[in-house]
Symmetry: C2
Subunit: 117 residues, 2 copies
């Protein structure tokens, strides 16, 4: 499970190839943490940061926050809030979708979005 830090470093280096402001120091400054902290996170010497910091990283690096949070072993607070509002409903639904293939779930997403039901 060395995913989060390695991925972060990889993406940052990619951005940096085009834009020198994606150094550890400058990115850390924009994100609002100490450079040494970000460095350690990237090398897996520290566990992934808080949701807030991860969201800021996703913004700066133009990544999907939910995906980045997932790599950090977290689920965003707003999703959790939605589930907590109607726990039985959402718990049942999610557990039933657990083993469904991606395309099936995706179809559901689209059906709901397009109001075809």
């Amino acid at each position: 499970m060395k995913g989060f830090g390695d991925y972060l470093r990889k993406v940052r280096e990619q951005r940096r190839a085009e834009d020198a402001t994606f150094s550890v120091r400058q990115l850390a400054a924009r994100v609002g943490v100490e450079p040494s902290y970000l460095s350690k996170v990237e090398r897996g010497q520290q566990p992934p940061p808080s949701e807030k910091t991860i969201a800021a990283l996703a913004r700066e690096l133009d990544l999907d926050p939910d995906v980045l949070l997932a790599m950090a072993g977290k689920v965003s607070g707003d999703l959790q809030a939605i589930i907590r509002n109607r726990p039985k409903l959402f718990a049942d639904l999610i557990r039933q979708l657990k083993d469904m293939p991606d395309h099936a779930v995706l179809r559901l997403v689209r059906e709901v979005r397009d109001g075809e039901w």
Copy 2:
């Protein structure tokens, strides 16, 4: 937001009316915590316990664990794991269902369960 403790106490007292083993002390023992701790939780002097302890309480009191967890401001780890496995998919779906009425979501649950799609 005094929900969790009050609800816990209410339900425990209900059970106790029929079964004297639902005292703070005995329930605490079965659940695996100190009586004084459970007492404080019921009176809101301590924040809700861990997911593990909440699950044990739900078992003993015959409550839905997801609902009890929700009252404690939590979402069960297994649901989170399902979401983390396919974050984009589930995040999109859940956010789209956020403002849907119960019966609509419920219909979806049933459709998936019955394979009508």
